[in-house]
C-alpha cells in the first residue's frame, strides 16, 4: 500500500479500493449478570487487497471463509474491528453514518437472494428509484424517466415500473437488484453471490449482463462467489479466502491453472468437471496416486 494511492486516483489509474489488514472479529459473550467476552470468532482476520479502476476482483471461498463479512466490513455495513479501507485514497474505516452517506452513492451491492432482497410491498419503480429520492438526485417526472431507462438497460421493460417483485422470475428479480445497485451510478459494485440462486441457463445471462454493464459504464466489481468457474470467468484477479484469511491472490487464469496454495488446490480439485471422460480420468488419477 503506497502513499501514492491518493494522487494516483486523481489521474484515474491507481487502485479505486485499498484494503489493508482488515479485521472483523465477533465477540462470543457469556456470563450471568455481566456479559464477559470469552472468545472471538475471527471472521475476517487481517486481509489486504486492492482493486483497480475498471477491473473485477473475484473473492472465492467456502461458506464460513469470511468472504461476505469481508464485503460488509469494506462497505462499512459492519464496523471493522481494525484495519484500513481506502476508497479513492480516502480513509473510510471508522467514519460515521453521516460522513458515509455521500460515499454510499459510490459503492453499491448486489445480493445473493433475489427473493429476500426486494421488499415485497414495494413496486419495482420504488425499489429502484427510492435512493435517487433519498439522495435528492431526482424526483417526480425525472425520477420516473431515469428508473425506466435503468430498467431497460438491465433487460427489463419500462412497463415493469408499477409491478411488484412477486410477479417476476428469479432472473428478472436479479435484474431489478442490479438496476437498484446502478441507480446512483456507483463506481464500485460488490456482487455477493449474484448468480448462485439462479437456474443454470439464467446464470449465464446475468453474468453476461454484468460484463456488458462493466464495459458500458466503466464499473469496478468485487465479485464474491463459491463457484470458482463463474468467478474465473468474470474476474481479472482472484483472491482465495479460507478461515478469514486470503491464502492466494493472482491473475484469474493463473490461480485456476497453476494454483500455489494447498487450499486453492484442494478447492479446485473438488470442482466437478462436466466431462465424463475427464472426470473418470481424474478419479483414476486420484485413486492411483
Amino acid at each position: 500500500m503506497s502513499d501514492l494511492g491518493a494522487s494516483a486516483t486523481t489521474n484515474g489509474g491507481g487502485p479505486l479500493l485499498e484494503v489493508a489488514d482488515l479485521v472483523k472479529h465477533f465477540p462470543i459473550k457469556s456470563g450471568l449478570l455481566f456479559d464477559r467476552e470469552v472468545d472471538q470468532v475471527r471472521a475476517v482476520d487481517g486481509i489486504s487487497f486492492s482493486v483497480n479502476k475498471g477491473e473485477t476482483m473475484g473473492l472465492v471461498g467456502e461458506s464460513g471463509s469470511g468472504k461476505s463479512t469481508a464485503c460488509r466490513a469494506v462497505l462499512q455495513l459492519l464496523k471493522p474491528t481494525s484495519g484500513s479501507v481506502k476508497f479513492e485514497g480516502q480513509e473510510i474505516a471508522g467514519l460515521g453514518r453521516r460522513e458515509l452517506r455521500p460515499l454510499r452513492r459510490e459503492m453499491q451491492m448486489i445480493f445473493q437472494d433475489p427473493y429476500a432482497s426486494l421488499n415485497p410491498r414495494k413496486r419495482v419503480g420504488q425499489i429502484v428509484g427510492d435512493q435517487l429520492k433519498i439522495q435528492k438526485i431526482a424526483s417526480g417526472k425525472e425520477l420516473r424517466t431515469r428508473v425506466e431507462a435503468l430498467l431497460e438497460r438491465v433487460g427489463l421493460s419500462p412497463e415493469h415500473y408499477n409491478r411488484f417483485p412477486h410477479e417476476f422470475s428469479g432472473g428478472q428479480r436479479q435484474r431489478i437488484g442490479i438496476a437498484r445497485a446502478l441507480a446512483l451510478e456507483p463506481k464500485l459494485v460488490f456482487c455477493d453471490e449474484p448468480v448462485s440462486a439462479l437456474d443454470v441457463s439464467i446464470q449465464a445471462q446475468i453474468v453476461n449482463l454484468l460484463d456488458d454493464l462493466q464495459d458500458e459504464l466503466g464499473l469496478t466489481y468485487v465479485f464474491v462467489a463459491h463457484d470458482i468457474g463463474v468467478v474465473r470467468h468474470i474476474s481479472d484477479r482472484i483472491a482465495v479466502m479460507n478461515h478469514g484469511k486470503i491464502v492466494e491472490t493472482g491473475d484469474a487464469d493463473q490461480v485456476c491453472e497453476h494454483p500455489r496454495d494447498a487450499y486453492t488446490k484442494k478447492l479446485l480439485a473438488a470442482v466437478p468437471i462436466p466431462d465424463p471422460r475427464e472426470s473418470r480420468a481424474r478419479r483414476e488419477r486420484t485413486t492411483a496416486g
Binding site: V200, H233, L268, V271, P276, E278
Partner: protein, 358 residues
C-alpha cells in the same frame, strides 16, 4: 444390520422386469389459475446398481416426478396418471398405509436441505432409531441405537459412537447430509432418490457426498435416482441421464450420449452455458435466451421453441420422444431436426453450444 429384510428380496419383479419402472407418468395440479401439468408423460426404467440422473431447471418437473414415485404428491388437488412399478408391484394405486411400508424400507429419499430435513429438538441418533422402529417395532431401542451408530460410521461420520447422541445443530452441513443418507439407508432400501443432495453444500463437501453415494451404489447395488440441475455433478456419478424441460423428457441416453452426442438443442444450451475450469475461458458465456416456460402457459408445440434459435415450421407440432439415431435405441430425444444437421448446428467455436454468444 441383518441381511436382506423380510420384505420382498431385492430382485427384479415377476417376469424379470426392471427394479423400478415408471411408465407414462402424468401429474397435474388444480390451481387457482387452472390445471398445471407438472409432469407430462415421463417414462424410465431403473436397474439395481444403476445411477440415473434427472436434469432440469426449476419447473421442469424433475422433483415432482421423484416425489410422485413415493406418493408424496397425493392430495385432493393433484391428478396422477400412469404407472410406477417397483419389482413389478404397482405403487400409484396402493393404499396410503401400504405405501408407508414402501417408503424407507424399499425406496428412500434424501432432500436438498439437510438443515430443515432433520428435527432440531431430537438427537440425530433418536431420529434414525425412530425410522428403524417405525417399520419394525420388534427391534428394541438399544439395538436400534447401536444400529444407528453403525450406520453413521458407514456413511463416514468420525467417532460415530459418540456423535450419534449429538443434536443436528452440532453437525456441519456435510455431516447432516451424511446423517440423512444414514437414515435413508437404515432400512436397506433398494432404491435411493436423492433430490439435489449437494446443492446446499460447499464444493469440497459436495465431492465427498457424491463419492459416498457412488460407493453405496457400488457396494450395496443401490439403484439411485439423482435429481440435479448441475451437469458437472451428473458427469461425476451418473450412468444414464434424463433431461427434462416443461414437464417432459426432452432427451435421454447414456452419460456419454448426453455429453458427447447430445441431440436436443436444450441439452446443447445447458452444456454450452457451463463455465469450465479445464478449458480457456470464452470471451462471453454462451447463454440460453429467455426463461423456462410457465407450466400454466406452455408454448404450443415444442416447449423449447420460443428459446430455440433453430426453430422451424415443424416445431409447432410436439415431437415424440424417439430414437432418431440409427443403432442407438436407448438414445431418444424430442427434436424434429435431422441428426446430420444437428451435428453441424451444435458445433459452436469448437465445443457444443446452442448459438454463438451475442
Amino acid at each position: 444390520m441383518s441381511a436382506t429384510p423380510e420384505t420382498a428380496p431385492v430382485t427384479p419383479g415377476a417376469g424379470g422386469g426392471p427394479l423400478l419402472a415408471v411408465d407414462d407418468l402424468r401429474v397435474g395440479f388444480a390451481t387457482e389459475d387452472g390445471r398445471l401439468q407438472a409432469v407430462d408423460g415421463v417414462s424410465f426404467e431403473l436397474e439395481a446398481g444403476e445411477v440415473l440422473a434427472i436434469v432440469g431447471e426449476s419447473g421442469s418437473g424433475k422433483s415432482v416426478t421423484a416425489q410422485t414415485i413415493i406418493g408424496l404428491t397425493r392430495s385432493p388437488n393433484s391428478h396422477i396418471e400412469g404407472s410406477v412399478r417397483l419389482s413389478g408391484e404397482e405403487l400409484t394405486t396402493q393404499s396410503e398405509s401400504d405405501l408407508q411400508s414402501v417408503r424407507g424400507s424399499k425406496i428412500a429419499m434424501i432432500f436438498q436441505d439437510p438443515m430443515t430435513s432433520l428435527n432440531p429438538v431430537y438427537t440425530v441418533g433418536r431420529q434414525i432409531v425412530e425410522a428403524i422402529r417405525a417399520h419394525d417395532s420388534s427391534i428394541d431401542r438399544k439395538s436400534a441405537h447401536a444400529q444407528a451408530a453403525e450406520l453413521l460410521g458407514a456413511v463416514g461420520i468420525p467417532d460415530a459412537e459418540r456423535r450419534v447422541d449429538d443434536y443436528p445443530h452440532e453437525f456441519s452441513g456435510g455431516m447432516r447430509q451424511r446423517a440423512m443418507i444414514a437414515m435413508g439407508l437404515a432400512l436397506e432400501p433398494s432404491v435411493l432418490i436423492a433430490d439435489e443432495p449437494t446443492t446446499a453444500l460447499d464444493v469440497t463437501i459436495q465431492a465427498q457426498i457424491l463419492h459416498l453415494i457412488q460407493d453405496l451404489n457400488r457396494s450395496r447395488g443401490l439403484a439411485t435416482i439423482l435429481i440435479t440441475h448441475d451437469l458437472g455433478v451428473v458427469a461425476e456419478v451418473a450412468d444414464r441421464v434424463l433431461v427434462m424441460y416443461g414437464g417432459k423428457v426432452v432427451e435421454e441416453g447414456t452419460l456419454d450420449d448426453i455429453f458427447y452426442d447430445p441431440q436436443h438443442p436444450y441439452t446443447w444450451g445447458l452444456l454450452g452455458s457451463l463455465t469450465r475450469l479445464d478449458q480457456p475461458r470464452p470471451h462471453r458465456l454462451p447463454q440460453i435466451s429467455g426463461a423456462p416456460p410457465s407450466l400454466l402457459n406452455l408454448p404450443k408445440g415444442c416447449a423449447f421453441r420460443p428459446r430455440c434459435p433453430h426453430e422451424f415450421a415443424k416445431c409447432a407440432e410436439v415431437p415424440g420422444l424417439e430414437a432418431r439415431l440409427p443403432g442407438e435405441p436407448g438414445h431418444r430425444d424430442r427434436c424434429w431436426l435431422p441428426p446430420e444437421q444437428k451435428r453441424k448446428l451444435r458445433e459452436i467455436g469448437g465445443r457444443i453450444g446452442l448459438e454463438e454468444p451475442a
